[in-house]
């Protein structure tokens, strides 16, 4: 390592610090008393260090208000959507990658065309459909529109295509059926791809804003992402800045932890989602 390397790292630490300031500030404000924040947000080091320190905002958050319920809704919706996406994407991806059957190419083209349709182009008809069925204000209303997503099928399709044929053929000779091959041979091999797809879906579900905004009108069915939007409009007056910031921290915690633990998968998932869908 030469001198210019250390200069580079030093030079980049400054923008990296600036990049981190907004997040640090949110965390720091969430640990400061509301009475203080009503007067000033820059008591120690521009407010970046939480002195005076108090955990009261978090205690209040879990004792009163709807944040815990929203958090639970987000968990149910995100986990439910992730499991459903995995189920339909692995099955369809395997069939399209490894089996021969009529209408295969038209089905693949139909899926490809689905990549072109953004959520924002179908949210109005989905709203009227769900209104007719009485589905709004429920967990399944938030889950179902994003279950059969082409990107998931293509992610799995590409993965299954890359597996050598002879693995299957050995099993075929022993008289094993296609569904058994899928379940006992292919799925265990597909774990890394499933992990990538799971993280992509979980992040999307946790962070989605537009569809929950349209579909969930009762506060009991808000996700944390939507709930956070509903309390930030009047942040200073209603609940105190510190408590709103604590809500923001709680809302970010799962995705940040997920990112820090599975960084490589998250990066792969987001680039896969980015380049192909």
């Amino acid at each position: 390592m030469n001198r210019s390397y250390y200069w580079l790292i030093f030079g980049l630490s400054v923008p990296a610090f600036i990049w981190l300031v907004p997040t640090v500030w949110m965390v720091s404000l969430s640990f400061q008393p509301n009475e203080l924040l009503a007067r000033t947000t820059s008591s120690t080091a521009l407010g970046l260090i939480p002195i005076p320190f108090t955990p009261d905002n978090y205690i209040a958050l879990f004792r009163f208000g709807q944040v815990p319920m929203w958090f639970l809704n987000s968990l149910i919706v995100s986990v439910g959507m992730t499991l459903a996406v995995l189920a339909v994407s692995t099955t369809a991806g395997y069939a399209l990658a490894r089996l021969e059957f009529p209408l295969k190419t038209p089905i693949i083209i139909l899926c490809l065309m689905g990549l072109m349709v953004p959520e924002q182009a179908v949210f109005i008809p989905l709203y009227t459909m769900f209104a007719d069925w009485g589905w709004h204000n429920s967990h399944h209303a938030l889950i179902m529109p994003r279950v059969a997503v082409p990107i998931g099928v293509f992610l799995m399709l590409q993965f299954f295509k890359a597996i050598p044929k002879d693995i299957e053929e050995a099993a075929r000779i022993d008289g094993v059926g296609w569904l058994q091959i899928f379940w006992y041979v292919m799925l265990p091999l597909a774990r890394p791809a499933m992990m990538t797809l799971a993280i992509l879906t979980f992040l999307y579900a946790w962070n989605d804003y537009l569809w929950p905004l349209v579909s969930a009108q009762q506060r009991e069915y808000f996700t944390i992402t939507l709930g956070l939007a509903s309390i930030q409009a009047n942040f200073a007056q209603a609940e105190g800045l510190g408590r709103v910031m604590a809500s923001g921290v709680v809302a970010s915690l799962p995705v940040v932890v997920l990112f820090l633990i599975f960084q490589r998968y998250v990066v792969r998932a987001m680039t896969a989602g980015g380049t192909k869908g």
Binding site: S4, Y5, I9, L12, W19, L20, V21, P22, T23, W25, M26, L29, L37, S42, A87, V88, A92, Y94, L99, F101, L110, L112, M116, P118, Q120, A121, V122, I124, P125, L126, Y127, A131, A148, G175, G177, W178, L179, F182, N207, Y209, L210, L213, V214, T225, L228, A229, Q232, F235, L241, G248, A251, S252, V255, L260, Q263, V267, M270, T271, G274, T275
Partner: protein, 365 residues
């Protein structure tokens, strides 16, 4: 044909495929294919959300008149100088893409796409109401213009920052890995967390930026409600939020560049910034195009930043297309007109998706 083989039922390939595909195809048909066509169908009707909710027959087929009411007006004429800023950029872009293609700096698809988009930018803003004429919907085209402006500011901002960072942070050392993580972190936050943070960052009374300017004796700017600053604010928040993916794509692109090129360059004294300019940049062309197209698709659908930080204001200067669709549908209850705008959005997004697909294909060859 099911055949009995021993005691077990063995399915043919076709039957197995049908069973495996059925769940996906059913859900896909009900929640994506059908809504898509229903959206087009709604756009051909005078369809009031409330009225139809009470009486399903309270809608009337009106043909294309929703599209006319949204996008057209009375006495519309065309002029080459109706909207000089946009049209000049469009014309310049068309010339630039022709030049890039001629000199071999851009591929055929890239040049065609760039030229096409630039020509549209020249032609479309040229339409304007003539003597005594007016747009039927005064807000639609300005909204589209704001969306394009937002994309035009955010995309170069993200692309250039991400490219420089990727070039500097490529490498296997621990310090670089930590820095990459820091820059990527904000990408995983939800839009509502991002707007929460930046709304307060920009606040003239409590904001960190205001506190900083006061520290240096300046007076705080009312970022989110001052014309000119509001758009800048949501662009800054967006760049901060969405830098990560672009940086990762550039890192992948840089790792594909042969190390031999840099070694050869080092012999000619090309290191650091010189190496970036003469080696990295020319070899990143395809990645740059991909990142730009990707960002255009992503940011054209901007909603949360405008909806939560500025409410589309001040004076509609940060009103964007998706927010206008949302409001037309769910505040004004005009589902027909909102759907016409959604179809418009789909056509633009579809065009860029096809472009993205073609570019991705080119890469594989």
């Amino acid at each position: 044909m099911p055949q009995h083989q021993g005691a077990r039922l063995v399915l043919s390939q076709g039957q197995a495929a049908a069973i495996l595909l059925l769940p996906f195809l059913t859900i896909y048909a009900v929640f994506l294919v059908y809504p898509f066509f229903k959206g087009v169908w709604i756009s051909l009707h005078d369809w009031n959300l409330m009225a139809v909710a009470f009486n399903p027959d309270a809608k009337a087929y009106v043909g294309l008149s929703n599209y006319e009411r949204v996008m057209w007006g009375s006495n519309i004429t065309w002029g080459a100088w109706a909207s000089p800023a946009f049209q000049f950029i469009g014309l310049a872009g068309a010339v630039a893409s022709a030049w890039l293609y001629r000199t071999g700096r851009a591929g055929k698809v890239t040049a065609l796409a760039m030229g096409g988009a630039a020509l549209l930018l020249f032609v479309l803003p040229g339409f304007h109401p003539g003597e005594g004429g007016r747009w039927y919907d005064r807000r639609f085209w300005p909204t589209v213009g704001n969306t394009i402006l937002f994309v035009g500011l955010a995309v170069p901002g993200v692309t250039i920052t991400a490219m420089l960072l990727a070039a500097a942070l490529d490498g296997e050392t621990r310090a670089k890995a930590v820095l990459r993580t820091l820059f990527f972190l904000s990408q995983v936050l939800s839009v509502t967390v991002v707007t929460l943070i930046w709304q307060i960052m920009f606040s003239p009374r409590q904001g960190l930026i205001a506190n900083l300017t006061q520290l240096f004796g300046g007076s705080p700017i009312v970022w989110l409600t001052a014309e000119g600053f509001a758009m800048a604010s949501i662009v800054i928040a967006t760049i901060w939020w969405s830098l990560g993916i672009a940086m990762i794509l550039f890192l992948a692109g840089i790792q594909d560049i042969s190390k031999d090129l840099y070694e050869a360059g080092a012999l000619d004294n090309a290191t650091g910034a010189k190496a970036f300019w003469y080696i990295t940049l020319p070899n990143l062309k395809r990645t740059i195009t991909l990142v730009v197209v990707l960002q255009i698709i992503l940011h054209f659908q901007v909603f949360g930043q405008s909806h939560l930080m500025t409410n589309g204001g001040p004076n509609d200067t940060t009103q964007v297309l998706v927010r206008y669709i949302y409001q037309t549908a769910f505040r004004d209850s005009e589902l027909g007109r909102a759907s016409a705008m959604a179809v418009f959005l789909f056509v633009i997004m579809g065009g860029f998706s096809i472009l993205q697909f073609v570019l991705g294909r080119e890469k594989d060859q």
